[in-house]
């Protein structure tokens, strides 16, 4: 009985889909229909649309990138309230830049550049010892001491996440841009104004430190 019902449901769905496709094809000349439904609107186009007054375009953009940007700040600061504050600041910058926005680079590159610069300003403002100074392409061993990891009470942090948060800032930056921002090493090098080789080294040492940290935690 269930099989019959399933078959009937599948058949009905197939018929409905066929009817929908035929209707769309017949009326394509009347409506601007994008039949390639799998192609989402690009970030750059959404931002341009938002600049023209389309609030829903910003909402889509925000939903796409809010997690990565928030976790970028969270891993760096290790404090949810600070991360949210920085996160909100960045998106207000995006909102205020809507009318003057021009597509000169990928939207995500622009967004994370804003985030990086804002983080640097935050560190300077709060007199933190370590800055995300990517002009200095020193080897990872020469980096400044890591920041103290401040874990907010009540937040369960997996060993892996803890190891990421304990990385030296430059290595952490490269790691987060790759895993939260989805950037390639070339993009990261350009965004952080570093050489490709230095970026690659930082990521390699980051992964090595994480693995060692996890191993030490297990041993």
């Amino acid at each position: 009985m269930r099989q019959v019902a399933t078959r009937q449901t599948n058949y009905r769905q197939a018929v409905e889909q066929t009817v929908r496709v035929r209707y769309v094809e017949q009326h394509r000349h009347r409506y601007k229909v994008n039949l390639t439904m799998t192609e989402p609107i690009s970030d750059e186009q959404l931002m341009l649309n938002y600049g023209q007054g389309d609030a829903s375009a910003f909402e889509q953009l925000y939903l796409r990138h809010k997690g990565g940007v928030y976790r970028y700040f969270l891993r760096h600061t290790s404090r949810a309230e600070v991360a949210e504050e920085l996160h909100q600041d960045i998106w207000m910058k995006v909102i205020n830049a809507r009318e003057g926005y021009q597509v000169s680079a990928k939207f995500s590159t622009w967004l994370y550049t804003l985030a990086h610069n804002h983080l640097v300003n935050y560190y300077r403002k709060h007199n933190k010892a370590q800055l995300l100074d990517f002009d200095d392409v020193a080897e990872p061993e020469d980096e400044l001491p890591t920041l103290d990891v401040q874990l907010s009470q009540g937040r369960t942090v997996d060993k892996l996440l803890a190891q990421v948060e304990a990385l030296p800032s430059q290595q952490k930056e490269v790691f987060l841009l790759k895993h939260e921002g989805g950037f390639s090493l070339e993009d990261i090098a350009e965004l952080t104004k570093s050489s490709f080789e230095a970026t690659k080294s930082r990521l390699r040492y980051a992964m090595k430190k994480i693995k060692e940290g996890i191993s030490d935690a297990h041993s």
Binding site: Y50, G53, D54, A55, F58, E59, Y62, K66, G67, Y70, R71, L74, A80, A83, E84, H87, Q88, W91, M92, I95, N96, R98, E99, D158, L160, L161, V164, H179, E180, M207, I210, K211, E212, I214, S215, A217, H218
Partner: protein, 179 residues
């Protein structure tokens, strides 16, 4: 697989699966509300690019321009009686001066319309209009037959009622024949 033997890709995958934190709902609401306020409160400034978003305005402007030009052309085409070039070319020619040769029922030149009259002169076309050019004046022909073109630049007799329209004598053509 023991943790210490994890490859980079394993680390990446594990991180992706664990890293799920999101900003709070309050934070989301505040940002989205600000984004909506930004586009709803501030009136859109008129700038140069706004014209690019209103292509129909340029189409309307172009249409108006065409209408004005056509109207001006029509005004120009409406002849001042002594200024028509064919008249100057025609005036001294003897063929024009045969007004009296054709049989006429009634002749009227400048006065208001009379019953059907016949006037002889040379047919000339200007634009879409036909004129009968005589030594004294030119007559605008209306209700011309479809085959009037065969009489172009010929001396003919035109029969029809005459009337005055804006200082222009108009003949409602009933018949065209050779004098």
């Amino acid at each position: 697989m023991p943790t210490h033997e994890r490859s980079d890709s394993n680390i990446s995958q594990d991180y992706q699966s664990l890293s799920k934190e999101q900003p709070s709902q309050a934070c989301d609401n505040a940002i989205l509300a600000a984004s909506r306020r930004a586009v709803s409160s501030k009136p859109k400034a008129v700038n140069k690019s706004s014209w690019k978003n209103m292509p129909y305005l340029s189409a309307i402007a172009a249409s108006l321009f065409v209408v004005v030009v056509m109207f001006a052309q029509q005004q120009q085409d409406t002849p001042d009686t002594p200024a028509i070039a064919p008249e100057a070319a025609v005036a001294p020619m003897s063929a024009i001066l045969v007004e009296d040769s054709a049989p006429q029922l009634m002749r009227s030149t400048k006065k208001m319309s009379a019953p059907v009259s016949t006037v002889s002169g040379k047919l000339a076309q200007q634009g879409q209009q036909w004129f009968l050019i005589t030594a004294q004046q030119s007559y605008l022909l209306e209700n011309v037959p479809a085959d009037i073109a065969q009489w172009s630049q010929q001396t003919v007799s035109v029969s029809g009622a005459q009337k005055m329209i804006d200082d222009q004598v108009v003949i409602l053509v009933e018949q065209i024949q050779q004098p």
